[in-house]
């Protein structure tokens, strides 16, 4: 039954400015309303409370910005995807902007499972704790700490899993940390983190760089899907092949 008449699409969007203070759930609701405002031919779930078939990618924390967010939507019928980016953007709050929409293959892997690594721009700033004292999160100090992090074999952090505190080694998750230079309040870094075997939040990474540091502005810049050794953009990873092409 699945994929009978459904027409899945993948929507790529940014989250910038004031709107970064709304939650992942709020973003989802804003999109659902935008789909209705634009009167897209939505496919609905069956059951007592029919919902549009929307599946979101990795959550973005309240306060973080992003150049690369994705969601998948199933439409009830095929439509032209080219005009959709502008149309949906017009119905979204300022700061949420759709920059591309592509038709998606039937049964494409869900974004949450498919995405294997994420790139971030993370600003490292001095924490507000009194013991952080006069330590200045300038590029030199941050670069030295980053070198130490990258030079270590294990990085054990305390985490809470299902209400129990456990220890996890997150070294293998950190693929890259590059110090970009001074920012307004501290130091800008570019980071790439794997989503497996565990996911690491930017604040956790900053704490690993230095307990006395905090995250300042945080922006997700890219998401990657690695499959069979190939690094793919979520927009091009699972394209819908036109019916006539498939038939031939």
């Amino acid at each position: 039954m699945k994929g009978d008449a459904g027409f899945p699409i993948r929507i790529a969007f940014t989250k910038n400015g004031k709107v970064r203070f709304i939650s992942h759930r709020d973003v989802a609701r804003a999109f659902e309303r935008a789909f209705r405002i634009e009167q897209l031919p939505l496919a609905f779930t069956l059951g007592f409370s029919p919902r549009p078939k929307v599946s979101f990618g990795l959550a973005l924390s309240v306060g973080h910005e992003s150049d690369a967010e994705y969601l998948d939507l199933e439409l009830a019928e095929p439509i032209a995807v080219e005009p959709l980016a502008a149309a949906i953007s017009a119905a979204l709050p300022e700061g949420l902007e759709v920059f591309d929409v592509v038709a998606l293959a039937d049964r494409a892997p869900a974004l949450q499972e498919a995405v294997t690594s994420v790139e971030w721009n993370i600003e490292v700033i001095t924490g507000s704790a009194p013991e952080s004292g006069e330590i200045d999160a300038g590029p030199e100090l941050v670069a030295a700490r980053v070198d130490a992090v990258l030079g270590s074999d294990t990085l054990v952090v305390d985490r809470i899993r299902k209400g129990k505190s456990t220890q996890e080694d997150i070294r293998s998750v950190i693929r890259r940390i590059t110090v970009l230079g001074a920012s307004e309040q501290g130091t800008s870094t570019a980071v790439e983190l794997s989503t497996r075997p565990t996911s690491v939040r930017p604040a956790e990474l900053v704490a690993v760089i230095g307990q006395e540091f905090c995250e300042g502005r945080v922006r997700r810049t890219r998401q990657w899907i690695e499959r069979d050794g190939e690094r793919l953009d979520p927009l091009t990873a699972d394209p819908r092949i036109a019916l006539e092409a498939r038939a031939s």
Binding site: K18, F21, R36, I37, S49, P50, G95
Partner: protein
């Protein structure tokens, strides 16, 4: 002008739900504050989630912004965490639309829809850097205005509010804009006092500083205007025809989840059911229905604009709307927009007809249905004029359970006039029977009994009644819980201590202002939130001011007593209300005047208004139509006063 955003933004990283403060909702405006425009900051003095859906505020926001001579923005009470951060960093209260400082507006106007938000008004003014007390404000400070149902007894807030708007705000906000605009253009003649005196001449506007108040011992002796051009009695404003006001046209769509998060379309304003405890029904007369065609157009346009998938048809008793059944079935069968749109009727009448409508609109997901019989016995329901028979209630719940609903919620008041323990226990009896009916249809049948303590309100027949004290309310609630133990009925109740504090403010006079200020200074904000409420703050403040809480709350008033709100008129004649109070004590019901001859409450005659009702006949249904036999009752001895031990 100056946006505070760069100073607010860093504070938001450390607060709960920062999106409360960013604005940017669909429907929001960033108005241009031209030199000629009068600027309004409309403030709802509770959290964003509670304040944003407020329809009154949304309507005025839109009406004002449509005027070339006005600019309106919004603000909500910052939660405790942001309030502390604003003080620490010396950032003032701001509008959410352009993050402009509150004190930069010409008018800061509050919506007062519940007494327990009063201290938040003081908190907002203080955060804005505006002197909390009206008599300490200078010419450069904004005019502090309040509207909403609570202003029908404005006296407890007269120390803090410069001008109150009584009744429907749609028309007076324009007139006030012109009044203040003229005053500014004329070079501010007479300074602040000159402006307030000019505002006092606007119909429906009450400027408390223009009145002298005299006391005779603890009793209020008189409230008299200080000038001949200030009205002795301020009459409420009423829009004659809702069809002229199809607002909001561009409803605000919040970015975060709020209460009543859906499209709301007002079916009618006013209610003449005449429930004697209900201030909203009394002060909003007469009934003014919106034409059904306009309702449909507003639903369609509203859904298309907002992207909501649910619409609520709001009013004080939506099943009373003429032709409600055909309106609802049309809305349900129309596949508006993308389809799968839900329709809800928030205030359901208690009868089988209403359940029929509910089953039409809730084709799926029948979880819970709520009814409000309010009183536990037919006698008591005649006292309060909520004329629902047991047959109505049982037919309604039978309809609900038989059509797939599993949970029924019943709202009751305790502490009503003449209430005896058998009335209170009648609630338990009704609940047990409701469960019994439900069990015939589903094993999962349950019933929630929600109990609130009754607070008498101004401009109702019960304005003379002494409220039950906290001990008495606790006793009744306890008795009810005891009686329903080990049944499928669950009891939920409202805190009697909060009910008591509400009673202090609800019928208070000007002396209560000092009490409210003390409660606020002691840290008592967000008093509607049980985790922040302590009755001790209120009783300590009363003691410090030398005021007796029982004199204000639990004392019965006499016919000749000067009431603090006697100089505010809702159009209801005092002798009508007194007569209705006497009928109440005799357990005599009074029919709905929409479909029966006028009994001259005063509103239509004095204000030259008429009901605007499409159907000349009462709605189908149970005894809440006019087929009711009101001669019943009075068989139980009527007792006004303490009811303790009435069963023994």
């Amino acid at each position: 002008m100056t946006s505070l955003w760069p100073r607010i933004e860093p504070l938001l990283a450390g607060v709960e739900k920062p999106a409360r403060y960013i604005g940017m909702e669909r429907g929001s405006r960033r108005p241009h504050h031209g030199p000629g425009a009068v600027s309004w900051l409309l403030v709802y003095p509770d959290t964003y989630e509670i304040g944003l859906p407020n329809q009154g505020l949304q309507i005025l926001y839109e009406i004002l912004n449509e005027r070339p001579d006005a600019a309106a923005e919004r603000s909500y009470a910052p939660w405790l965490d942001l309030a502390a951060a604003l003080r620490e960093h010396a950032v003032p209260l701001f509008s959410v639309d352009t993050h402009r400082p509150a004190a930069d507006f010409d008018i800061v106007a509050f919506n007062l829809s519940a007494e327990l938000v009063y201290t938040n008004l003081l908190e907002c003014l203080d955060l804005a850097g505006i002197p909390v007390r009206a008599d300490q404000r200078s010419e450069d400070d904004p005019v502090v205005v309040a509207g909403g149902h609570c202003t029908f007894n404005p006296e407890p807030m007269t120390d803090f509010v410069d001008a109150f708007v009584i009744g429907d705000g749609e028309e007076p906000v324009g007139e006030m804009t012109e009044c203040i605009g003229d005053w500014k253009r004329a070079g501010r003649p007479g300074g602040r006092t000159g402006m307030l005196r000019a505002l006092a001449a606007v119909a429906g506007v009450y400027v408390p500083s223009m009145y002298d108040v005299e006391y005779d011992g603890p009793a209020l002796a008189s409230v008299t205007p200080r000038f001949s051009d200030v009205p002795a009695v301020v009459e409420k404003r009423t829009i004659a025809d809702l069809a002229d006001w199809p607002y909001p046209k561009e409803p605000l769509v919040p970015l975060i989840e709020v209460v009543h998060d859906r499209l709301n379309v007002e079916l009618f304003r006013g209610c003449t059911r005449g429930c004697r405890f209900c201030q909203a029904g009394m002060i909003t007369r007469p009934v003014r229905e919106r034409p059904a065609e306009q309702v449909r157009a507003m639903v369609e346009a509203g859904l298309a604009r907002t992207g909501y998938d649910e619409v609520a048809l709001t009013s004080l008793s939506s099943a009373d709307f003429s032709g409600i059944d055909s309106l609802v079935s049309e809305l349900v069968s129309d596949q508006i927009g993308c389809g799968n749109v839900g329709v809800s009727l928030p205030s359901l009448r208690v009868d089988a007809f209403t359940v029929g409508i509910a089953s039409e609109i809730q084709k799926v997901r029948r979880t819970g249905l709520t009814f409000a019989p309010e009183g536990g016995s037919w006698r008591l329901r005649q006292v309060i004029n909520k004329l629902i028979t047991e047959e109505d209630l049982y037919a309604a719940v039978e309809g609900a359970y038989s059509q797939g609903w599993r949970r029924v919620k019943l709202y009751f008041l305790v502490g009503l006039p003449t209430e005896m323990d058998e009335d209170t226990l009648g609630i338990a009896e009704l609940a047990r029977n409701v469960v019994k009916i439900g069990k015939q249809y589903t094993k999962q049948a349950s019933c929630t009994v929600s109990v609130g303590g009754f607070v008498p309100k101004a401009h109702t027949p019960f304005q003379w009644f002494g409220q039950n004290g906290t001990a008495e309310l606790h006793r009744k609630i306890h008795m009810l819980r005891d009686d329903l133990r080990k049944t499928a009925a669950q009891v939920r109740w409202h805190d009697p201590e909060a009910t008591f504090a509400e009673g202090i403010a609800s019928r208070g006079d000007r002396r209560i202002g000092a009490v409210i200020e003390r409660v606020w200074r002691a840290g008592g904000t967000f008093q509607e939130w049980s985790e922040h409420f302590q009755l001790g703050r209120w009783t300590d403040a009363m003691a410090a001011e030398g005021l007796d809480p029982d004199w204000y709350v639990t004392r019965h008033r006499t016919e000749d007593e000067v009431l603090p709100w006697d100089h505010i008129a809702a159009g209801l004649h005092r002798d009508f209300l007194w007569q209705d109070w006497q009928s109440s004590l005799a357990a005599h019901g009074l029919p709905d005047c929409r479909w029966t001859p006028c009994y001259d409450c005063g509103v239509c005659t004095d204000y030259a208004l008429e009901h605007v009702v499409a159907a000349a006949v009462p709605p189908a249904g149970g005894s809440q139509g006019t087929g009711q036999d009101l001669s019943l009752g009075g068989a139980v001895p009527v007792l006004l006063g303490p009811t303790r031990g009435a069963l023994s």
